[in-house]
Amino acid sequence: MTPTVRLDRLLGREVYTANNRRFGRLEEFRAERHGADWVITEYVIGAAGLAERLGLGVRLILGIDRGGGYAARWDQLDLGNPDRLRLSCPVAELRRQ
């Protein structure tokens, strides 16, 4: 059985860099159809900071959600340990969005 993970429980989790520094929070998952399946192609990670601590909902209300985030390709984030999500590439390789 392929290991499964709950996407809704990954939402809002901290993402760490390869050298264990806090990077941001997982905010969105972009998916595309590949044949009969939907696969995740990108993760949207919001920048870490004070605003992060307010929680996604509050940030939306205060309108500080626009930009300042990163998009990681599916192979740039390691889901192996859901309690400690780690980037599997250097930060510089991430796409800014």
């Binding site: 996604l56 909902g57 939306l60 209300i61």
Partner: protein, 404 residues
């Protein structure tokens, strides 16, 4: 033509459930203690309420979702737990206040202690929701609510001088009793802008299957309907100001408030006041209970609605029945209904930002209102006022409790 008829009906029936325990008690106290000087609070609160209701109606007609559903879908369940929980707690308290107010009015008519009437009134509320459909409930509550026009009649017959009344619409700061004045203005806002009214109005728009074509009806119903209702609340304030003010009566019970009808209605004073209070509270109790079902059904994705077979919406029925039972139990303990009313309206203002702010974000999202977005200026103003109100409430309520 049918739409004009329905619109008129909607405006007239908006009275039912608008003037209830909160509006009557705050208007009576405001009038007896500060004369006409808090009329502006009722007017401002009503405009605020109408603007929010219209937005909720817009999301319902264009986005086909109620407020609660829209908040869950846009912000997620994790976020929603907080405003939803806060609203449910406030609604239980408010429902308790309405049941108490209705019970007091029956006591005024019969002389039998109000605690005995809580359960029977609760049962009648339940039966209305068990047996009625949306049209019957809305119009029934609305037409019965017309008895509250007694306040309008009283205010008219008392013929207050126009100038002082007009001045009451301009916000002024009194020379004394500042805390009490601030507390009452906050309470008036809380009594008028009840969160349950917003989701209830939007849910009604969905039950009536409004579409983008009905947006003008939505605007008219929201502003004219609430406006009509607010005139009754203002009439209550004016009557209290003219009759109770000069006698320096502090309204500490509904029975005392009833005295405001004596000069105009003589020996019918208590009966008419009791009927107005009772019917207003009963209508509000029906709406709050129904809205509790809407809140839970919409948040969790159940089938809901009073236009469906009851056995088809069993979770919805069970949910509102439990909420009603909870409020009946609390009310039957015998707390002073007037005190519970004042606590609920104060609490309402404190939680208001939680409910209004997410909602304002939705008004700019195409997914929910398509091209009928609200301007950022209007939204910004509403957001600022909501936060201001909450801050004021947090400051003023403790001052009042520990000073009064």
């Amino acid at each position: 033509m049918r739409k004009i008829f329905n619109l008129t009906l909607g405006i007239v029936t908006s009275i039912g459930g608008f003037v209830e325990a909160g509006s009557i008690s705050t208007a009576a106290q405001a009038g007896s203690e500060f004369g006409f000087r808090l009329l502006w609070a009722i007017a401002a609160a009503t405009i605020f309420l109408a603007a929010l209701a219209e937005m909720g109606g817009r999301i319902a007609a264009v986005g086909k979702r109620s407020m609660v559903a829209a908040v869950r879908e846009r912000f997620g369940f994790h976020f929603q737990v907080v405003p939803l929980g806060a609203e449910l707690i406030t609604d239980v308290l408010l429902l308790t206040a309405e049941l108490g107010g209705a019970a007091i009015s029956v006591k005024m008519l019969t002389g039998i202690g109000f605690q005995w009437w809580i359960a029977p009134i609760g049962l009648v509320v339940w039966l209305v929701l068990w047996l009625g459909n949306f049209t019957v409930i809305e119009n029934g509550v609305g037409f019965l609510g017309l008895v509250t026009l007694s306040f309008a009649v009283a205010a008219w017959r008392l013929q207050p001088a126009v100038a002082p009344v007009a001045r009451g619409f301009i916000p002024t700061v009194p020379h004394h009793e500042l805390t009490r004045y601030a507390f009452l203005s906050v309470s008036i806002v809380g009594a008028t802008v009840s969160p349950y009214l917003l989701n209830f109005y939007a849910s009604g728009a969905i039950e009536e299957k409004w579409t983008e074509q009905d947006l003008w009806i939505n605007r008219a119903t929201a502003f004219l309907g609430m406006g009509f209702g607010s005139m009754v609340a203002m009439a209550c304030l004016i009557t209290a100001a003219v009759v109770l003010g000069p006698r320096h009566v502090t309204v500490e019970s509904y029975e005392q408030a009833a005295q405001m009808f004596v000069p105009v209605f003589g020996r019918w004073a208590v009966t008419l006041f009791a009927l107005s209070l009772g019917v207003g509270c009963f209508g509000a109790a029906v709406e709050i209970t129904l809205n509790a079902g809407y809140l839970l059904g919409q948040a969790f994705g159940w089938r809901w609605g009073v236009d469906k077979k009851r056995r088809d919406v069993s979770r919805f029925v069970t949910a509102f029945s439990i909420v009603l039972l909870l409020s009946v139990s609390i009310a039957a303990i015998g707390f002073d209904p007037l005190k519970i009313t004042l606590i609920s309206v104060a609490l309402t203002v404190v939680i208001m930002p939680l409910i209004v702010l997410p909602f304002l974000v939705l008004m700019n999202e195409k997914a929910y209102v398509r091209e009928h977005t609200s301007g950022p200026v209007g939204n910004g103003l509403l957001a600022a006022l909501t936060i201001l109100g909450a801050i004021m409430a947090l400051v003023v309520i403790p001052l009042e409790i520990f000073g009064g």
